[in-house]
């Protein structure tokens, strides 16, 4: 699809079809089931890179990195989005469906078992006590991630005001998320558009 680009460059086009391999849907399914099973602890991104770029040449490194950025920016769980992207690039819509299924199915089965155990164990007071502690650790993970992400935002007043306004509206005032983001996202996009640095260089 980008065959017209890079023809004038001396190095080989990373999109050139002979270098890449097309997996069968079965191969895709097996690879993503493996990733889904082994990605306990959130290590799915390196696993996906290994399976789709290093071990099998389903897509180029550059394509993988672009997909990784996309998966983060777009709505949806990042690992699931990335699986969808890899499956889509490798085998179109059926490939995307199969990659997502393989990615989610193992974790889905585990979480169902845990949900079942919860129903059985909720009668014991200790269950709720232990889970409250675990929820604390879970919130801590969210706070630590949020703090790290916040350091990567643009440092200007608009960014701080938008983040704070969204937090107060949804977190403190308990306003429904939908109306809040319907106002906040266009405002934030407009602020980013106005302050875009690349536009000055004509990009």
């Amino acid at each position: 699809m980008s065959a017209t680009k890079g023809q004038s460059q001396p190095e080989p086009d990373p999109h050139a079809p002979p270098q890449l391999e097309t997996p069968s849907l079965w191969q895709l399914m097996m690879a993503f089931l493996k990733i889904g099973v082994t990605s306990f602890g959130g290590a799915s991104r390196p696993m996906m890179h290994r399976e789709s770029v290093e071990a099998n040449k389903w897509l180029s490194d550059r394509d993988f990195i672009a997909g990784f950025a996309l998966a983060q920016v777009l709505p949806g769980a990042n690992p699931v989005n990335l699986a969808l992207y890899v499956g889509l690039r490798a085998r179109g819509v059926p490939g995307a469906a199969i990659a997502v299924l393989g990615m989610v199915l193992p974790a889905f089965c585990v979480i169902l078992l845990m949900g079942y155990a919860y129903r059985e164990l909720i009668a014991y007071p200790a269950t709720h006590f232990v889970l409250a502690g675990v929820a604390g650790a879970g919130v801590a993970a969210t706070l630590a991630t949020g703090a790290k992400m916040a350091t990567k935002l643009d440092r200007n007043w608009m960014t701080a005001i938008i983040a704070l306004a969204v937090f107060i509206a949804v977190g403190v005032l308990h306003i429904s998320m939908t109306p809040v983001v319907i106002v906040a996202i266009p405002a934030s996009l407009a602020a980013a558009w106005v302050t875009d640095k690349g536009a000055r260089d004509g990009r």
């Binding site: 777009l74 949806g76 675990v134 879970g138 306004a165 977190g171």
Partner: protein, 178 residues
């Protein structure tokens, strides 16, 4: 009754799917608001419990939808909720991927990359507050929260090992009569 609940699950999770910028953390506050206050399916305590389980489980944090679905409508509830949380966002990703490939570096793309960040961060902290509020707020819980946050922010300690450690510590505290 059950059909109403399955339909309700779709009505709650499908819109949240499209709004889940930055993954599942951004929609936790609204998920709690919808399932506890608006639809009355869960108590605040139950929601906090399910959140804890979803954090201890493998896989993306959005799989909390499967847990909530299972809790209120059994196996079918979990399947419907999971489909509702993944299909709408997947359709967005599908169309965005096609668009992205034709616009490698545009002002609009850069604006999206930078502009969604502040909104996602605000929602993420709102979600953290919702979970803190729905659990017991005691000195022990606040110390636990502060310690865990410091460990995860300043060290490379794995969140999964931390969750396991905290579970064992709280089990021990429970045995000695906390």
């Amino acid at each position: 009754m059950d059909d109403n609940r399955l339909l309700g699950l779709i009505l709650v999770f499908a819109p949240l799917s499209i709004l889940s910028f930055g993954g599942g953390q951004a929609i936790i506050a609204d998920m709690q608001h919808q399932t506890v206050d608006v639809w009355g399916w869960l108590s605040a305590n139950q929601f906090s419990d399910l959140f804890a389980i979803s954090r201890a489980a493998p896989g993306p944090s959005t799989l909390i939808a499967a847990l909530i679905g299972y809790q209120i409508a059994g196996i079918w509830g979990s399947i419907i909720a999971t489909l509702a949380i993944y299909i709408p966002s997947s359709i967005v990703v599908y169309y965005a991927t096609s668009w992205w490939q034709n616009h490698p570096d545009s002002r609009l793309k850069r604006s999206f990359e930078r502009g969604l960040g502040p909104v996602a961060i605000g929602l993420l902290f709102a979600g953290a507050l919702a979970i803190i509020e729905s659990g017991p707020i005691t000195l022990l819980m606040l110390v636990n929260l502060a310690l865990c946050t410091a460990i995860l922010y300043f060290t490379k300690f794995s969140p999964y090992k931390l969750v396991g450690t905290v579970a064992l510590v709280f089990l021990g505290l429970n045995l000695v009569g906390f």
